[in-house]
Symmetry: C3
Subunit: 340 residues, 3 copies
Amino acid sequence: MTFTLKELSELVGGELLGDPRAGIKDVAEIQNAMPGEITFLGNDKYRKFIKTTEAEAIIVHKDFDGEYKNLIKVDNVNLAFSLCLSKLRPQIPKNPPSIHKTAIVAKTAILGNDIFIGPHVVIEDHAVIENGASIYANCYVGHSGRVGANTLLYPNVTLYHKCIVGENNIIHSGTVIGSDGYGFVRKDDTIEKIPQTGKVVIKKDVEIGSNCSIDRGTIGDTVIGKGTKLDNHIQVGHNVKIGKYCFIAGQTGIAGSTTIGDYVTIAGQVGIGGHIEIGSRVVIGAKSGISKSIPEGEFWFGYPASPYKVATRQIASIRMIPEMKERLREIEKLINKKDL
Amino acid sequence: MTFTLKELSELVGGELLGDPRAGIKDVAEIQNAMPGEITFLGNDKYRKFIKTTEAEAIIVHKDFDGEYKNLIKVDNVNLAFSLCLSKLRPQIPKNPPSIHKTAIVAKTAILGNDIFIGPHVVIEDHAVIENGASIYANCYVGHSGRVGANTLLYPNVTLYHKCIVGENNIIHSGTVIGSDGYGFVRKDDTIEKIPQTGKVVIKKDVEIGSNCSIDRGTIGDTVIGKGTKLDNHIQVGHNVKIGKYCFIAGQTGIAGSTTIGDYVTIAGQVGIGGHIEIGSRVVIGAKSGISKSIPEGEFWFGYPASPYKVATRQIASIRMIPEMKERLREIEKLINKKDL
Amino acid sequence: MTFTLKELSELVGGELLGDPRAGIKDVAEIQNAMPGEITFLGNDKYRKFIKTTEAEAIIVHKDFDGEYKNLIKVDNVNLAFSLCLSKLRPQIPKNPPSIHKTAIVAKTAILGNDIFIGPHVVIEDHAVIENGASIYANCYVGHSGRVGANTLLYPNVTLYHKCIVGENNIIHSGTVIGSDGYGFVRKDDTIEKIPQTGKVVIKKDVEIGSNCSIDRGTIGDTVIGKGTKLDNHIQVGHNVKIGKYCFIAGQTGIAGSTTIGDYVTIAGQVGIGGHIEIGSRVVIGAKSGISKSIPEGEFWFGYPASPYKVATRQIASIRMIPEMKERLREIEKLINKKDL
């Protein structure tokens, strides 16, 4: 399907500089874009490709000062591009509502309308599958588990007993929700398990990447707030509470009983210790190790982590040591010579 | 079900200060506990909630010097609390022994008594499932694999051929036991695979969290010792030997052929290199990178790691650099002025 | 089956020092090897075991200067040993071609010859399974997915729609190929998802360990080059391009749109930021955090990473700080005394 540049420019609410009748039939990355394709400049690193791209048009930020035959200027390049992507590349349509004959659905499970349950899915007793939910092949929903309205579980997701996934969630393959928290206690020379009797509660509009592990609470619940987005391979410990609209990037781990505020951004491979509080709107740099609470709105980085400015100053100061040593030697030489 | 405080105090072998007839019907976290609920003070960070909690009673350490209407004083708070938890919140009962009609069990597999095999489980030729084992939905037990007596595999566990899980194990969802070790050798400009012909042996009373990977040995075995507890997302390389009653926290990786002693504690996101030896009762701090062997009983930390005291001194000394630079400048100024 | 030392020495193209008629019936690690077994010395750390091993013969490097009753001297010990391993321990034979009766294979899927499709596998519409492919139990191949000739998917692998796995691949359990890239954009106080409409393309001769996540591209593709070998728990972000014959060790994460050249070696738990370029033949040390592009052939290490020599010098210089502080104090004392 082809759209005119005018149509797309109106779709994204942008300012069109160029030929409104230019036809756009696909999207492409700037380095590969061809005639008939629209691309975007979302990161200045790619600006060099403006000279070589064959794109029909480029979506740029409204402050962009370069030139190209067809431009759409917008406030938010990524958002505008995302809208074009949805328009030009419709997703594979949802599976029509159905319950596959190989799915094992307990008689006591409560099933909403318009749900899709794929092959080999297992739904245990007293589970609830709300209207419009899609549960792909080989997923498991434990005893009294709940899958919210219009939520999508990709294949091979495991939802343990009693755990709740809210509405409009997307959970990717391999993710495990509700495995036991890591709760043990040494007793003489052996180790006793502390029963993990709480559950996991995931609010609405959450997305969780592949191969994540969200542990159930010991007594209370592990909670992931509305609209929060988790990347892949993330571990969330027991009784952790994560607020709303947070970004948490891949391979990050959050130890038990820690609280994360709202609108927090956590980069990849971060480790956050247990029983601490991360304030709202905090930003944590990649690979940081956090062992203390962080007040609202701060930006921390490093291992062990400090406020960003302190961390970068420390890194810079390490680089000064050899020169300082040299100056120290100079002074000592001078002092010796002068026979002080 | 309701118990009196006297009953619970006897259960945990504690000293009761307060009303022995007080009725307890559930457990709760201290910040949320209500009348009729028992809670605990296991971490001083939560002491502030004593003023606001509505708990019927609090389990505290015997040296606790505060006051509350009903207290149970014990030697080991977490252990006592764990006992109350087991009493007040009985687990969902085990599935009754049965083999689901959709499970595919090879004719040559040897099945014990009182086992549960859930829907869509696959048990390959010559596998052995010992008495009382529970294998939940969608698990896979490879050729000649063995699942020990009373062991529980949660859904979606993969056990490769020949690998052995001992008795009384708990293995959480998504965990893979027996994938090939990372054994390759460069040959001219290509890479050859080294066959991974060993297996994995997991001893009794082990718990492994979700989404872990335990690789099989190249020639000999990868071994996890009795009573050791692994958190989630842990990678154990080929031919690694882990001793008994170790704690290994989430997202830790142990490279091939390394040996870990007994009673070792490894915090989260630690990386341990290959072909080294970690002595018994060693403790390793979170996110440490270990490339050398560590003698018995030592506490190491950092990246690259050092003994804990050395590591903390290094961290502190980095913070001194700016001040040292300032003093150096002062001396230089002075020397210049005095025209030395 | 027993082979003579002469036969094995010819197999590996080595120089035999000892009894050519000695019979070898198995392989073993040097510390455990018994008569009738061949072992190898691939790492000098194990040299001490030459005194105690009971091995029939040892494969050593051609420059080895020690003595043993039977030695095979070779150019590449690991390669020679790998050949012996293949000879002496034949793998469990491949499953004979068949499609299990519980597999759900879409009518529109295209199936090659001599394929194995195990129990509970799901193959969606328009998927292609090429000749000789083996797909083990509980795997999922999405709409229009492709599994190349002679490729092996171990149990519980998830291949999303449109994603392509080339020929002669080995993909271990729990690995997810084609989950959505982590693409979101803040919009006012909420977060919008950017559709992930690209795919994953894995070239031939690739091996991917267990529980990895390879995200699909946003517009273009995520690509893993020919012969590259991934360990376990690796995350590859959307639009990442990895070259050929790379080694990537466990728990490493590569953020979106980054390019990795050919013959690159990345150790365990490395984090690589987005939108950067890692040149061919680069080596990256364990646990490094890489936020900038690295030119061809360089060796980087640390967090934040630097060229290896710079990094080790920095580490060494931190250790000098306490001594420098002491010297500074001495000078100050001296200056004070002399009343400068």
